[in-house]
Amino acid sequence: MRRRAAVVGAGHTRFGALNESPRELLRAAVDQAYGSVDKGLTPLDIGEGFLGTLGFSGWQLGNASAVLAEEARITGAPVTRVENACASAGFALRSGILAIESGARDLILVAGVEKMTDAPSRRRRYWLGVSGDTEWERMAGLTFAGVYGLMASAHMREHGTPVEALAEVAVKNHANALKNPNAHLRKAISREEVLASPLVADPLRLFDCCPVSDGAAALLLAGEDVAHRFTDTPVLIAGAGAGSDALALQDRRSMTRLAATRRAADEAFQRAGVERSDVDFLEVHDCFTIAELLALEDLGFAAPGGAAALELSGATRLGGERPVNPDGGLKAKGHPIGATGASQAYEAFVQLRGSAGDRQVRGAETALAHNVGGSGASATVTLFSVG
């Protein structure tokens, strides 16, 4: 049987407009991850490290992984920066999982970090578009808000998706974030407020968009055969999948479905040997509200066009049949680009260990995390289960 990886520790900084530098954020997340290991851990036992970061605003465009090695005090071990835009940490996590599953490593550090709020506005807008298609989408005047606005318009046209369903995603995720002390936007909002907020990229409004956030998250992975050295309650990575698609929306077969997500989900479920009905809650990539609807459809939890009704039914709320984004999602918890994939895995770790506090999904045994790069050029899906 395949050797599986397990999460034995995890750390998470607050997300938001923070004073700390990327180095300080990384150190805080890693130290918290170290501290979370029940039986302790010696950093120098870590075999390898993977860092997810876009390097937003150019803070350390090349060789950023060395910063992780320094701040985690593992200098000497190989470290690699993994960059797949907003899915950077999802793919860093995947690299760590593969290293353990292959038997090459026993203990891995995965971290993600982004510092986005301290760049001047123009520079920030420049960087918010760097992961889109440079040759066409960007030259047409699009950043991701615009690209997701296009996708939303096509989805509405194809399925009659109501704006109320988009608003419901924002309302739900804001409500969840109120219960997450690490969340960026801890403010309840109403559907009316969402629908009255200024348009950003029609039909998407301000409250349909995730905030620009700083933050970091870190994970410690071990082979399931050695995990007991670190904790008696590891969280198993049951299966991981990933996929890719054309960079530009115009080059995709469909503008309302993410092929990368579908492929990643199929692979993850197949490898994990679990069914969708086994999943107790989902962490999905909701950089814009429309993205949560697309995710539920592409992950196979709703038929194409069916996610709106699912959201409006309340089934995705905390306490609902299958909660989606109990931590507030990118939408309200915040979206420090390179940290998001690790943050989702952090949520799976604390939830499946029953330590998520006010936002605990009761009895959760299986969780799914879904991380998307850009508008769907890349995606990871990871399934977690109690050890």
Binding site: V130, W136, M139, A140, G141, G146, L150, A201, Q250
Partner: protein, 367 residues
């Protein structure tokens, strides 16, 4: 005997031109000249056009190789020259009894309205006009030219009215004003250039470096399309030229060196897609603050803009910013035409690319 086509397109900085509103902020002498070439009957009946000699306030790097940029093989493009010298050269070309080809002269002038065209150019145009079909410059001192002249007038008028008149009809907003959106007046290209690494760099026109809320001569702060790469692909970019693989039949866009379907590179053929009547499949209106920083100047002067994804071929879609119509006025299912427009200034040069305008009604159809 040689014959000539002379297409004149003039851009005024403000006000009206012959009763037609001035072009939008994304039009300039260059885009109008390209449009002029597009509107010419091509190849011009009876002879292949051999020469294009653009001059005037063109971006210098684009003036010298317009033919190549437009994917018109066989066009011999000469560099910009002072008007009288160019006129003299044209006259000698027209007078050459051995000259078998035709001449297309594109004149994007910044001559003030009503002012005479410099004498040698007038002479050349008159000579060319006398020798064959020609298009005279409106407002110039040339004779009207009888029936041909009327036809030519129509052509120029059509060219000029192509987008502007429609914009005037569909967009109730007042024409944008101010230095940032001046078209020709603000496009005084500095002739001071310095070779840098085998290429040229241009100094910023003073008009843009003063009083503007945002420095349009941005230096890239990260990922972008570098100027040489942009130049290398401009033909396909501006002409919507796809590649068709003769081995497997796949069509793809933009052009790339090998077929993404079968991987072969030996049987690729250039296929210009129609730039008319593309069906819109997705739309969004980008509001100020959501634009990439290259578009700060535009967003600051004219606010929100619409972006559409439109189908150009059963297998090819393109993403285009809408111009010449109010943002939000184009819906999914509508049709648009793709036109060359100025996009944004970066590192001392304007970037040009396709934008979308509401499609012209199809000939022969009625509402």
């Amino acid at each position: 005997m040689s014959r000539s086509i002379v297409a004149g397109s003039r851009v005024e900085p403000s006000g009206e031109l012959g009763g037609v509103p001035v072009p939008g902020p994304d039009e300039d002498a260059f885009t109008l000249s390209v449009a002029a070439i597009d509107r010419l009957p091509w190849p011009v009946a009876g002879f292949p056009v051999r020469q294009v000699q653009p001059f005037g306030p063109f971006p210098p790097a684009l003036a010298g190789d317009l033919g190549e940029a437009l994917g018109r093989p066989g066009i011999d493009v000469r560099p910009a020259r002072p008007l009288p010298e160019l006129g003299a050269g044209l006259i000698s070309l027209l007078d050459d009894p051995t000259e078998e080809g035709g001449v297309a002269l594109v004149l994007p002038t910044s001559v003030p309205q009503g002012a005479p065209v410099p004498p040698r150019i007038s002479e050349a145009i008159a000579l060319g006009f006398a020798r064959g079909p020609g298009v005279r410059l409106r407002g110039s001192s040339l004779p009207a030219g009888g029936a041909d002249g009327a036809r030519i007038d129509d052509l120029v008028q059509e060219l000029r009215g192509h987008s502007s008149a429609r914009r005037a009809a569909s967009d109730p907003r007042p024409a944008p004003a101010g230095r940032d959106v001046e078209v020709d007046g603000g496009m005084a290209w500095s002739e001071t250039r310095t070779p840098v690494g085998g290429r040229f760099q241009w100094e910023s026109p003073a008009a843009y470096s003063q009083g503007s809320s945002a420095d349009p001569w941005l230096v890239s702060e990260g990922a972008y399309l570098p100027w040489p790469t942009y130049l290398a692909h401009r033909s396909g970019r501006w002409r919507l030229a796809a590649a068709e693989c003769g081995a497997c039949g796949a069509r793809f866009f933009p052009w790339r060196g090998s077929c993404p379907n079968c991987g072969r590179s030996d049987r690729l053929e250039r296929r210009e897609l129609s730039r008319s009547g593309l069906e819109v499949e997705a739309t969004t209106v980008v509001h100020p603050g959501a634009q990439p920083s290259e578009f700060d100047l535009q967003a600051g002067s004219s606010g929100s803009y619409e972006v559409v994804v439109a189908r150009a071929d059963p297998h090819i879609r393109v993403t285009l910013q809408l111009t010449g119509a109010s943002p939000g006025s184009v819906r999914i299912g509508d049709r648009v035409d793709a036109v060359l427009r100025r996009l944004f200034p970066l590192e001392g040069a304007w970037r040009y690319g396709l934008k979308a305008i509401p499609a012209a009604p199809m000939a022969g159809t009625t509402a």
